[in-house]
Symmetry: C2
Subunit: 138 residues, 2 copies
């Protein structure tokens, strides 16, 4: 999760909502991503989408059932839907997203075999986001 936080900080430097993700296979990071929706002018350019696409590329297969994604914030329905198609093995996230987290809609957006762990480095992940929006509002 510390590596996902590093990705989130890369987004912050670009004045993007600071969310970062990494995908791990066999104890190695096989892909990284950070939010680039403003930079790329693309509403789908979330950290998770980029990390998933890059992981499939580096893994040489569409399915990531042996992989774990670490992401600093609870994924939205789009990203959870993408994880479904990737058959993601495990999802670990830091902060919850009470406004647009996938769990607000349904846990069933994820693949039934995906193991979910939440609250890892929650404070750090959450602070990065809340500081960003506080600064935007002021």
């Amino acid at each position: 999760m510390k590596e996902a936080l590093k990705e989130a900080e890369k987004a912050l430097v670009k004045d993007e909502v600071p969310i970062g993700a990494v995908v791990v296979w066999n104890n190695k990071i096989i892909s990284r991503g950070h939010n680039l929706t403003e930079t790329l002018n693309d509403p789908t350019a979330h950290a998770e989408m980029q990390a998933l696409t890059a992981a499939s590329n580096s893994f040489g297969g569409k399915y990531l059932d042996q992989c774990t994604m670490y992401v600093t914030v609870e994924p939205c329905p789009m990203c959870a839907g993408a994880m479904y198609w990737a058959h993601l093995g495990s999802l670990v996230f830091g902060a919850t997203d009470p406004k647009r987290g996938f769990r607000l809609i349904s846990n069933n957006i994820l693949h039934p075999k995906t193991v979910i762990t939440s609250g890892i480095l929650e404070k750090e992940c959450s602070k990065l986001i809340s500081d960003f929006f506080k600064k935007k509002r002021s």
Copy 2:
């Protein structure tokens, strides 16, 4: 929808699940997409995702609230979640997807302002898919 069907046929030629999409603004097609998950080895490479990303690019903005997407099959939760972020104005789809359509999970995956129309050229859209899977199975 006929243009979306043409996109689906492009997917079929590449031995991809034949789904196609176009985005229309001001009576003009501003983007096109067809399913490329196998070709790109990317589980997120659905027709709708590509059409949305291309539309944002061509439109010069992240928000597509003045646009209509025509897609041959009911979008999955990932694609519906992407349409939420794009604030898509209208969604028109052909065939329903009783296995993985977003409505199985919740209509709330879409943006509350997105107007939904279904069943346009339903038979043609549906036949393309069912013929594809019949052929795969035989």
